[in-house]
């Protein structure tokens, strides 16, 4: 299982990358995709939507189950990964790359610093 060091994580298994332009990209962790199994459908949020940290904004469906994806920080959804509409399996094959889900313009970029670092998230995930 991979836990890249350059990302921050939530206890609901999203990962967050603060990009150079101040926008954050959000996906689900390798641990989460493995637990879900074959992803068959991704329900994306709407661009322009204002979301609060902890709010359910997207959903991922595997053969087995449906899981909500939560906004890791507050802000505005500025982009969604439409590739997932036809290729939901990208969440399984490239959870940290082509399987990103949405991008948020943060209300407060410092919120990212409050999320879990890779080592702390790994410890949390593997104790589940």
């Amino acid at each position: 299982m991979k836990y890249p060091d350059n990302l921050r994580y939530t206890k609901t298994h999203e990962w967050v990358l603060l990009e150079d332009d101040g926008i954050v990209t959000v996906g689900i962790s390798d641990y989460a995709q493995d637990a879900l199994g074959d992803v068959v459908f991704v329900e994306l949020p709407e661009v322009g939507e204002q979301v609060d940290a902890g709010e359910g904004v997207a959903a991922v469906e595997s053969v087995k189950t449906a899981s909500d994806i939560y906004a890791p920080i507050s802000g505005e959804i500025v982009e969604v990964n439409t590739d997932l509409t036809n290729q939901p399996e990208l969440l399984n094959t490239e959870p940290y790359g082509g399987g990103w889900i949405f991008r948020i313009k943060p209300d407060n970029p410092a919120d990212v610093e409050k999320l879990l670092e890779a080592s702390a998230y790994q410890e949390f995930a593997e104790s589940q």
């Binding site: 199994g37 074959d38 068959v40 469906e61 053969v63 189950t65």
Partner: protein, 352 residues
């Protein structure tokens, strides 16, 4: 947590394990979809050793089973099996079961893993006054279900009996990989297949021989999607202590021309809601989701998934009887939105 005689073999294969009915069971090895399709297209196998087995023997074994279950056990010749149920006094169900006639006065009943204790207490209580001998043999058997269109072909290589002579629901003693087993041409996937009852000590040898013959190991995840595609009920979902089988497509099990425990209560229960199959155009229905018709909530999903074969959302649901007709338009609420679908025939996909 309890283990089966095959738990170590599952771990060695890298299976994802999870608690199920008090047992540490494999949920999947590779992926649910891949395992599902292996069973539909070739052959897969499942460790179902967690299921329970009761022996019912004696001069009044038939009379007792006629009272205990609603199907007609008198039709069961030696070496044959039938699907049946255990009604409670209120006309609901304690469990659904399979009954195998293994001798003139000897029957083996296979029950759901989660219900072994409840069923055992029920069977014992009802046996009072019958000349029968009961034995809870759940710990004496391991059980491997070999399922798929190539089940007979793959199993034949390892088996001393002529499997081509066996009809659906036949059961007989044989040897597989040199081990004494009981075979039954039964299963829970909608495909052809055999259930292989072995002594716990022989289970791993049989499992490894089947692996060597090219049978795909499958977990409980695929078992659930396969049974749902096939339109089979799962106790605790479609069938419960509170549900009458007469309100389901499985009413055929209940032979109203004979007497059985709970019959009067079962017949007097109305069916305001009926169990039906549902297919959605888009979206994946899940247990507990609400079903709507004409702008109003009319029922609830009991099991749902994406069919790995048809790639459509499929479900079983209890809905108001007025809407049970084939192709009746219905909607399922998924995360606050209504998704269009209709009442479907069962099974959901063509089966071999």
């Amino acid at each position: 947590m309890k283990t089966t005689p095959l738990t170590a073999a599952h771990r060695a294969l890298g299976a994802k394990m999870a608690p199920f009915a008090g047992y540490d069971m494999p949920i999947q090895y590779s992926s649910i979809s891949a395992e599902h399709l292996a069973v539909r297209e070739a052959v897969g196998m499942f460790d179902v050793s967690h299921m329970g087995e009761f022996w019912i023997r004696g001069a009044q074994a038939l009379e007792f089973l006629q009272y205990l279950t609603p199907n007609d056990v008198s039709k069961l010749r030696v070496g044959r099996a039938q699907y049946s149920m255990l009604p409670n006094a209120e006309g609901g169900l304690v469990d659904d079961v399979y009954v195998y006639r293994t001798g003139e006065q000897e029957y083996l009943m296979v029950v759901n893993a989660a219900n072994v204790e409840k069923d055992w207490a029920h069977v014992q209580a009802l046996a009072e006054g019958f000349d029968v001998e009961l034995e809870n043999a759940s710990e004496d058997w391991a059980l491997i279900a070999v399922q798929g269109p190539k089940a007979a072909e793959k199993l034949q290589v390892l088996c001393d009996a002529d499997l081509s002579a066996a009809r659906k629901n036949d059961t007989f003693a044989a040897k597989v990989a040199g081990k004494a087993v009981r075979l039954a041409r039964t299963g829970y996937t909608g495909e052809d297949g055999f259930e292989v009852f072995t002594a716990p000590a022989d289970a791993e040898a049989v499992w490894q021989a089947l692996l060597g013959a090219g049978v795909t190991p499958c977990g409980l995840g695929a078992r659930d999607t396969l049974r749902l595609e096939a339109g089979f009920p799962l106790y605790g979902h479609e069938l419960t202590d509170e549900t009458s089988p007469l309100c389901t497509p499985f009413a055929w099990v209940v032979k109203t021309y004979k007497e059985f425990h709970g019959k009067a209560a079962m017949l007097s229960r109305p069916c305001p809601r009926r169990l039906v199959g549902l297919v959605l155009e888009q979206g994946i229905p899940r247990e507990g989701y609400k079903v709507f018709a004409e702008g109003r909530e009319v029922g609830q999903v009991t099991s749902g998934t994406l069919s790995p074969l048809s790639k459509k959302g499929i479900a079983m649901a209890y809905i108001e009887a007025a809407y049970e007709g084939l192709d009746t338009p219905l909607q399922v609420e998924i995360r606050g939105k209504l998704y269009a679908g209709k009442v479907s025939k069962l099974p959901f996909v063509p089966l071999g």
